[in-house]
Every structure is written in structure tokens, then in C-alpha cells.
């Protein structure tokens, strides 16, 4: 009986650990990361929502530096990407340089964000924003009408991992 109880406790603990591990990295990034603002646009303006998620695309998803890098490296595809971001005068962070490994030196006013190249775009794990059922219509409409004013507040930790915190469209804040 005791042996069986021991195994049961181990199994329940394992399930609890798995549950803790699911958001573990995001919690770490949210707690320790530096907040930055990114310019955002819907992935597809005609189909913003995918189920309960808004599909987001960032200015840094397909930056000019990506094409420059590919030209310099004869079209070689990047798998993992380390993008150096620099804060602009408008408060938005823009792509400064792109690397295929962690950059050797990062200027003080810059931050490194890690991504993966997928079909000519770079994904940072912040492309889906969950929106509750009753707010879907409002956010979708707002994103469609004012997508040039849409920004996302993102936190980036010291390993380059990003976590999406809230969506800002003009002076309206959407946080779920």
C-alpha cells in the first residue's frame, strides 16, 4: 500500500511539474524581462482571428536586415535568429542587426530577441494573442481599422525569450 501511495504521489507530482513547466519560461520572462514596444500589424488583415487567437505580425517579423543577411550569405536560410533591437525616437523598438548566434557585443541601448525563421518570416513566440469571446469583435474591428497604430508590449529576458503582455491600439489597452 505504501509503495503504491509513493508511486501515486510521484505521478501526481510529475503531472504538477509538467503543468508548472508549461508556462515556466513565460513567467520567468514576464518577471525578469525588459519591457519593449513593438509595431504590430495583423498577419492577414482579412482574417485576423484564428479561433480565439489574434494572429499578429510585427515589423521585426520581416525586417530589411533579414534580406540583407541572406544576400550577404548567398541565400542561406537561417534557422534560429538572434535579432538586435534598438529603441527609436517614437518609443518603438526596431531591428538593428541580425545574427545566426548570440551577438558577441550588444550596445547598452540595444536588446537581443530570439526567433526562428519560418517561411521567410521570423517568429518570436509572440504571434498569437488570446482574446476572450465577448471582446473578439471589438479587438478585431479595432485592429482592422487602426492597424497602423497597433503596438504590442513585450517583455524580453536575458536569454532573448519574449512574452507578449498587452496590445495597444492608439490609447486603448487590451490585456487578457
Amino acid at each position: 500500500m505504501n509503495k503504491r501511495l509513493g508511486w501515486f504521489i510521484i505521478a501526481v507530482m510529475a503531472q504538477a511539474l509538467i503543468l508548472a513547466a508549461v508556462p515556466g519560461r513565460k513567467i520567468y520572462t514576464r518577471q525578469t524581462g525588459t519591457a519593449i514596444l513593438l509595431k504590430v500589424a495583423p498577419y492577414d488583415p482579412y482574417s485576423i482571428m484564428s479561433g480565439y487567437y489574434a494572429r499578429l505580425n510585427y515589423e521585426i517579423s520581416r525586417p530589411p536586415v533579414l534580406e540583407q543577411w541572406q544576400e550577404q550569405h548567398h541565400g542561406r536560410q537561417l534557422k534560429s535568429v538572434w535579432m538586435v533591437l534598438k529603441k527609436g525616437d517614437d518609443g518603438i523598438w526596431h531591428a538593428d542587426s541580425i545574427h545566426d548566434s548570440w551577438p558577441k557585443s550588444v550596445p547598452d541601448n540595444c536588446i537581443v530577441i530570439k526567433g526562428k525563421e519560418k517561411g521567410g518570416r521570423i517568429e518570436y513566440g509572440i504571434e498569437s494573442y488570446f482574446i476572450p469571446e465577448d471582446a473578439r469583435g471589438t479587438v478585431e474591428r479595432d485592429l482592422r481599422q487602426h492597424h497602423d497604430q497597433a503596438r504590442a508590449e513585450v517583455k524580453v529576458d536575458s536569454f532573448g525569450n519574449a512574452a507578449l503582455i498587452r496590445l495597444l491600439i492608439e490609447d486603448r489597452v487590451y490585456e487578457y
Binding site: R4, V12, L19, A21, V22, R30, Y129, F130
Partner: protein, 450 residues
């Protein structure tokens, strides 16, 4: 009687019926009857039957509640702040587990309900993974969540020897695999190795036929799916299926002669026979053979599990060959599977090795001949075995497969309605006559045996 998994309920049911007649015939006395009844706990059979039914109802109920919880999560339960939301749903999971364990293992008052609650706890665990991904806006591949769920379910299955948890783990992992292969069509397929390393040992430890069947299906189908998705050619699928047919049948033969695991023999052999028949049938179509593109073998990752399959199958066949030949009941069936699957294998390998040779440009014709021959051999094997094993199921499987082949070939090659009518009529008459003849044979055998 100690909990003995080796003795099936089917055997106990039969024994219960038999010992009554033994006592009437004076073979055993009242005391011996009581001893046997006690040893095999025959008086508990009807209660156990009721308990199984109750357990099935509880598990179905648990699955429905689990589905409700998952839908609840999917509907985005946004009125509550994330922290109480997490506490609430994690609390639901722990409550189900702890209450279930108490009822099942500690108080023992309601073991079936307790077990069902633990299954519900595992289902809620899966829903929790989805909920946490939603709360933290995690954009991960969906299959990663399913694999995490699988790990939690299989650990619980091993910890409590819980069959429904193991079956849940296999089903969830297979859905995850299907998703994964869609995203990674040319990656090395780890899933069959994981299945063989994690799920099959559970089936053996728990001596669970159900888990064994699910594991074999997950193992076999994943190798077949990997082959067709990676190679993008039907012939790769055929090659994989023939190999799995060979492997599973040999596995069945090995189980047949292994004490304590004989009940794994029939499921393995049935799955192997269905797969071999399916692939021989598919390969026998003229158009499919002609359209197969053997020139392009760009991707080769799929060949690793398929080659491993053939190597293990060869080792198993060599080890069981002698005993198979001396087994009157299974000999013909085994030989027919070996010949059919080998024919499919050889026709594909020979064609693949000389893809663009002009001399064998019309090789598809030989593929069709060989595949039809493989179907025929299988029919003969099934029917011959049915006579030796006095098994009605094998007989009808063989006869119906033969009828299917004849009708298909007529649809494929012959368009004359009159001839078709004649063939269908002949098939029908043949089926009825064969059935009557076989039933007479069975009756005669029964009389001789008596």
C-alpha cells in the same frame, strides 16, 4: 486465488460451465468442485461482470466530464482572474486524483468510481495544459501540449497500473504524432521507438490485450504514415506495411509459444493479416502499379524504421520457423503471410532498384501479377488454416477476400455487363456452397471429436 492476470475471464467462464458437467458425469466430486471454484474464484464471475459494466459507465462519465472541462477551457473563461483560474482548475485535478486514490486504494469502498476519478484527473490535466497556454499566450506547436499530456497520463498509468490512463496516453500521443508529422514530414520518426519503449512494456507488465492492440496499431500505423509522408510515394507505404505485417505475425507466433503471453498471439496475427491483405489488395490494381514513381527516392529517413522492421521480422521468423512448421493449426496461415508479404516486398524492391531500365519499363505488369498472387496465397492460407483450426472466422475471411478479389478484377478489367452478371452469380453461389460445405465439415469434425 492471488490476482492472476494470466487466467482470462473467458477461460473462467468456460471452466464454470464445464465443471458442472464434470460433476454430473462423476469425473469430480463436490469437494473437488468447490476447490476448483475457490481456486479460480468462479463464484465472483457474475459480480465481476457487473463491476466491469459499472467501471465502463464510470469511465465514459469521466470522459464526458473531461470533454466538458476541455470545452469550458476552450470557451475562454475570461470573467475570472488568471490566478484563481489556475488554482481552481489545478484544484479540480488534484481533488479528482486524491479522492479517486482514496476510494480506490485506501478505503476500497468504491474502487471503480475511484479509478474513474483518476482517469478524469488525467483528462483535466490535459485541459489544464491548454488553459495555461491560453493564459500565458504561449504560441507553441499544438503537438507539444499533447506530448506533455501523454507523459502525465502514462506516468499515472504505470504508477497505478491503470489501463484507461495507458489507453488515453496512446490515443493522445498518436494524435500528437499525426500533428507532428504534418509539420515535420521529412524528420526522423521517433514515435515508433517511443511507442515500443513506453507503451508496449506496460502491455506486457499489465498483461493487457487492449493496451497491446493499441500499442501495435500506434507502432505500425506510425511507421506506415512516416513512410508515405516522407517518401511521398505509395510504394514506400506498401513496403512499410508488408514489413509490419511480417513483423506482427512473427510476433504473434512468438507469443503463441511464450507461456503467459499466449493471449497476445491472436491480436498480433489478426492485425498482421489485415495489413498484409490490405497491401496485397492495394498493390494488385493496375493503375496504382503503373503510376508508382520509383525514380524519386529523395528522402530516405523513412527507410530507417522500415529497415529495422524487416531486420527484426527476419530474426523473429528465423526463431519461430521450426515451431511454426510443426504447428498444424497455424502453419498454413503463417506460410501464406510469409509468402504474400515477401511477394509484395520483392516486387517493390526489384522495381525500386532498377527504376528507369527500359527492359523492365513494363514492370508494373509483373507487380500486378505478383500482388494478385499474394492475394490468392493469402486466401488459400486463410481457408486451409480454417480447416486445420476448425475456425469459422478464418474460413469466411478467406472466402470473402477471394470474392472481393474476383469482383474487383472484374470491375477493373471487364466491362461486359453479361459477363459481370455471370461472375457475380457464380461468386454468390460459390459462397453459399462453400459455407454449406464448411459447416458440414465442422459438424463431422465435432462428431468425430465427441
Amino acid at each position: 486465488m492471488k490476482k492472476n492476470f494470466r487466467i482470462s475471464n473467458h477461460f473462467r467462464e468456460q471452466l464454470k460451465q464445464e465443471i458442472q458437467s464434470w460433476q454430473t458425469d462423476g469425473i469430480i466430486n463436490q469437494e473437488q468442485l468447490a476447490t476448483i471454484s475457490q481456486k479460480y474464484q468462479l463464484d465472483r464471475l457474475s459480480r465481476e461482470r457487473k463491476n466491469y459494466l459499472l467501471f465502463a459507465i464510470y469511465v465514459i462519465g469521466a470522459a464526458l466530464i473531461g470533454a466538458g472541462v476541455i470545452s469550458f477551457v476552450a470557451a475562454h473563461w475570461d470573467k475570472i482572474h488568471p490566478v484563481p483560474k489556475i488554482v481552481l482548475i489545478a484544484g479540480c485535478m488534484f481533488t479528482c486524483h486524491i479522492l479517486g486514490f482514496y476510494l480506490w486504494k485506501i478505503s476500497g469502498k468504491s474502487p471503480r468510481l475511484g479509478h474513474a476519478l483518476i482517469v478524469l484527473g488525467t483528462l483535466i490535466f490535459g485541459a489544464n495544459i491548454g488553459l495555461l497556454a491560453q493564459i500565458f499566450h504561449i504560441k507553441e506547436n499544438f503537438y507539444n501540449g499533447l506530448f506533455a499530456w501523454t507523459i502525465g497520463a502514462i506516468i499515472m498509468a504505470y504508477a497505478l497500473e491503470s489501463l484507461p490512463n495507458a489507453v488515453t496516453a496512446i490515443i493522445i500521443s498518436f494524435i500528437g504524432f499525426c500533428w507532428w508529422i504534418g509539420d515535420n514530414p521529412h524528420a526522423f520518426c521517433y514515435y515508433p521507438i517511443v511507442t515500443a519503449a513506453i507503451f508496449l512494456p506496460f502491455a506486457y507488465l499489465r498483461r493487457s490485450v487492449l493496451t497491446f492492440i493499441f500499442s501495435l496499431l500506434a507502432l505500425g500505423v506510425s511507421i506506415m504514415v512516416c513512410a508515405i509522408i516522407d517518401a511521398e510515394e505509395l510504394w514506400a507505404f506498401s513496403l512499410a506495411t508488408a514489413g509490419i505485417g511480417l513483423l506482427f505475425f512473427a510476433w504473434g507466433l512468438l507469443s503463441e509459444r511464450t507461456d503467459g503471453f499466449k493471449f497476445f498471439a491472436v491480436p498480433a496475427m489478426v492485425i498482421a493479416t489485415i495489413l498484409t491483405a490490405m497491401i496485397a489488395y492495394i498493390s494488385s490494381f493496375k493503375e496504382i502499379a503503373r503510376e508508382s514513381n520509383f525514380d524519386r527516392i529523395g528522402n530516405w529517413m523513412w527507410t530507417i524504421p522500415v529497415t529495422a522492421c524487416y531486420i527484426i521480422a527476419t530474426i523473429l521468423w528465423v526463431s519461430v520457423f521450426k515451431s511454426m512448421l510443426s504447428n498444424r493449426r497455424l502453419r498454413w496461415m503463417a506460410i501464406s503471410i510469409l509468402v504474400s508479404a515477401t511477394l509484395v516486398f520483392l516486387e517493390l524492391v526489384v522495381r525500386a532498384l532498377w527504376p528507369s531500365s527500359d527492359r523492365i519499363y513494363n514492370f508494373y505488369f509483373y507487380i500486378v501479377i505478383a500482388s494478385n498472387l499474394a492475394c490468392l496465397v493469402l486466401c488459400i492460407g486463410l481457408i486451409a488454416s480454417s480447416f486445420f483450426a476448425e475456425n469459422r472466422g478464418l474460413f469466411w475471411a478467406g472466402i470473402l477476400f477471394a470474392a472481393l478479389i474476383i469482383i474487383t478484377r472484374f470491375f477493373e478489367y471487364e466491362t461486359g455487363l453479361l459477363l459481370k452478371a455471370a461472375v457475380f452469380t457464380a461468386c454468390g453461389i460459390g459462397l453459399i456452397l462453400a459455407g454449406v460445405d464448411f459447416e458440414n465439415y465442422l459438424k463431422k469434425r465435432r462428431l468425430i471429436n465427441e
